[in-house]
Symmetry: C2
């Protein structure tokens, strides 16, 4: 009895201390949590990147495997149908939980999305890796919610930290990752509630990934002319094109997904049929240029003129792959589309080809994900500071042009992009 009273007294004393100096406790608590998130998400990302590299090289060396894409799709479909229905919402499930904390994200989201993405890339689907990054990050981070019995308010911050960690680690851009986590769930508004968890987790996870000796691709923009009104006008025009590309991609993926759902009732059959169509296309056009991540083509887009239809082909392949139910995410294909579209625009726009490729790389993504600040930071981290003004113009124009549309249906309109759409504030993109 006495011991219990003593414990209670001690707890009270601690509670009083916390109330007197809330900040040191806040900082200490979140540094501990972000350290845990960093180590686990950073290591998972490192493993993911290494295995993705291995899978991609193996496919490049054994391109007959693409014929098995329908089989791979069927397996991924079966996996999600029988084991993964609770986590099928993917990125949108994470965003929903940031808005309204419901039940804990099940840990299986992480291994499932990892397996699904590796399968998608092994058999030659056209997909990305940010979905995997975010979902592994969110699912792993959310396990700490239960472990430490965190309240719903703290759970939001944990999810944001997980997303920031995943994004920062997979792309090697911690500042952009942190801002992406803060920016992605609400359109047009950032709140700094989670600024410490987001930056802590993104920087930490990036460190852990690098500690595992996992590197990232480098892109080079050699010459950036000083900004003039004329160039600014061209950059804005390019931004409109990038925003348009983001709209078309979002629309096409959505329509593809709806069509598959309408015509094929049994979900695992959808990626089977989709995989057959994609594999058939590859066979018809006779190139593996538009499947997988497409990093080599992205790098080329910074170096030399490429065939203008590249971006449209990638758009088609990715919308088919993802609409059919393959896994991985949209972002690296968006980088591909943006960089090749920028490359193609160099025919009409008198800016260096590498600069246009870099602008497209981030701006199509800014339009599709509605995260302009994260994309500007990403460009600074990947390409250096000189391109900043051009990238800012392109990202903001793409962001404005894409309207209340995007690849994340659970994004909520926090601040409408235009007065005329004010009534849409507070509503989810998928409900508009």
């Amino acid at each position: 009895m006495a011991a219990a009273l003593l414990t209670v007294a001690r707890y009270r004393q601690l509670a009083r201390l916390i109330r007197l100096f809330p900040l040191p406790f806040f900082v200490a608590k979140w540094l501990m949590l972000t350290a845990l998130i960093s180590v686990s998400v950073g290591s998972a990302s490192a493993f993911f990147l290494v295995s993705l590299d291995w899978v991609t090289s193996w496919r490049e060396a054994n391109s007959w495997v693409i014929a098995l894409l329908p089989v791979g799709g069927f397996l991924i479909g079966l996996l999600y149908h029988y084991v993964g229905s609770s986590v099928e919402g993917g990125n949108n499930l994470l965003l929903d939980n940031i808005h309204r904390p419901a039940t804990r994200i099940r840990f299986r989201m992480a291994p499932l999305v990892l397996a699904g993405t590796l399968g998608t890339h092994l058999f030659g689907g056209s997909a990305g890796r940010e979905g995997t990054a975010l979902q592994m990050g969110g699912a792993i981070a959310d396990q700490f919610t239960a472990l430490f019995r965190l309240r719903p308010r703290d759970r939001r911050l944990v999810l944001i930290a997980g997303i920031s960690a995943g994004f920062g680690a997979v792309f090697g851009t911690p500042l952009a990752g942190a801002v992406f986590g803060l920016e992605v769930f609400l359109i047009g508004r950032i709140s700094y509630e989670a600024i410490l968890p987001a930056f802590g987790a993104a920087l930490g996870a990036d460190y852990v990934t690098r500690w595992w000796q996992v590197g990232h691709t480098h892109y080079h923009i050699d010459t950036v002319p000083p900004l003039t009104p004329e160039y600014a006008f061209y950059a804005a025009l390019a931004g409109v094109a990038f925003g348009g590309c983001a709209i078309v991609f979002g629309k096409l993926t959505h329509v593809t997904s709806l069509t598959f759902k309408r015509w094929i009732a049994f979900p695992p059959l959808r990626p089977l049929v989709g995989g057959a169509v994609v594999a058939g296309f590859v066979w018809v056009i006779g190139t593996t240029r538009y499947i997988g991540l497409g990093i080599p083509v992205i790098v080329q887009a910074f170096e030399q003129p490429l065939p203008p239809p590249d971006f449209a082909m990638k758009l088609l392949f990715t919308a088919l792959t993802l609409g059919a139910g393959f896994k991985g995410g949209e972002v690296t294909p968006l980088f591909f589309m943006g960089a090749t579209l920028g490359n193609a625009l160099a025919c009409w726009i008198p800016l260096p080809i590498a600069l246009l490729a870099g602008m497209g790389f981030v701006a199509v993504f800014a339009g599709a994900a509605n995260t302009p600040l994260a994309c500007i930071l990403m460009a600074l981290e990947l390409f250096g500071v000189a391109c900043g003004p051009y990238v800012a113009i392109a990202c903001i124009m793409a962001y404005l042009c894409s309207g209340h549309r995007g690849i994340y249906g659970s994004q909520v309109v926090g601040q409408s992009k235009h007065l005329f759409w004010g009534r849409q504030q507070g509503r989810k993109l998928s409900d508009l």
Copy 2:
């Protein structure tokens, strides 16, 4: 009559067109407005920077003029007392008008703050230039509100654009200027309503300033070690010190100002007395190191170890100068304090001296102005991308540590920095 009806019909047609395609009209309108703001604010900033340079060199060559600081102060005091009482609120008046659009900012704010700042620097007060930048920007931009009969909603965006333009042009950091304009009026929250005007005006004004052949100081951070947990810990510690410095400076300026107001009833006498005290100090310590902008010392702080008390001396001189009613702003002195404090911390913290100076440069400002994202972007623009992770840690720690305090009393708490201070949300800093 028929002609009038035709005109009405045409207007209706235009209104319908705008309703159908709101975005192109929105973009066109704001590109036109930001072009006007850019040209006027950018030119004003160029003139200001050139004259500030001239005034500073002249004072350096004729240091006897410091003896006249009380006279200068008295003149500035008289000027504001008899002509400038309507614009004496300065930066806070701008922020108030962003929150609640009231009467138009009078144009005289621009010439008055220009004259006041040049006077302050000519006679050797210790002050900055961002106050001048923001007030010239805001006052010039607001004249277009009347010219085009803009509604209150648009007026807010014009004021934000003016602030972004002034900041971007005076410091040569357009991206940081744009984000500063979006970030400064609300603590802990950004809204993208003004993203196009802010970025447009900041990039435009920076271009115009450079077009006038006005350059900016360059700072160099040669080596940045890769981030490790140990270095991150040290960076966080440094951030706490920078946040503390921001608090002390804010407090001291506030107390000095209150003391002058309590003891000296006639406002023009306050800078007279304050000027006498500052000039006396300069005479006693026998160096002009701590007056003016102090750019040479800031540059030195990136290059070699400096005497540790530097930052404290600058803090004292600036609090006295500004508390007494001189003009110019706090930011360049905050850069000075931060860079020299970082320089001094190199005795205990095993990070390169230039990196610590750069971290302090932006982090003390982040803590005092509650604008961490703008400060991170500023560091990237001024020092390059490599320092990003360190700067982010320092800025966020300084931001969190400084609490609901800062140099702009009219900032409103948009999102409290800690749960425990939640009740302060929605209130002005000066009312807390």
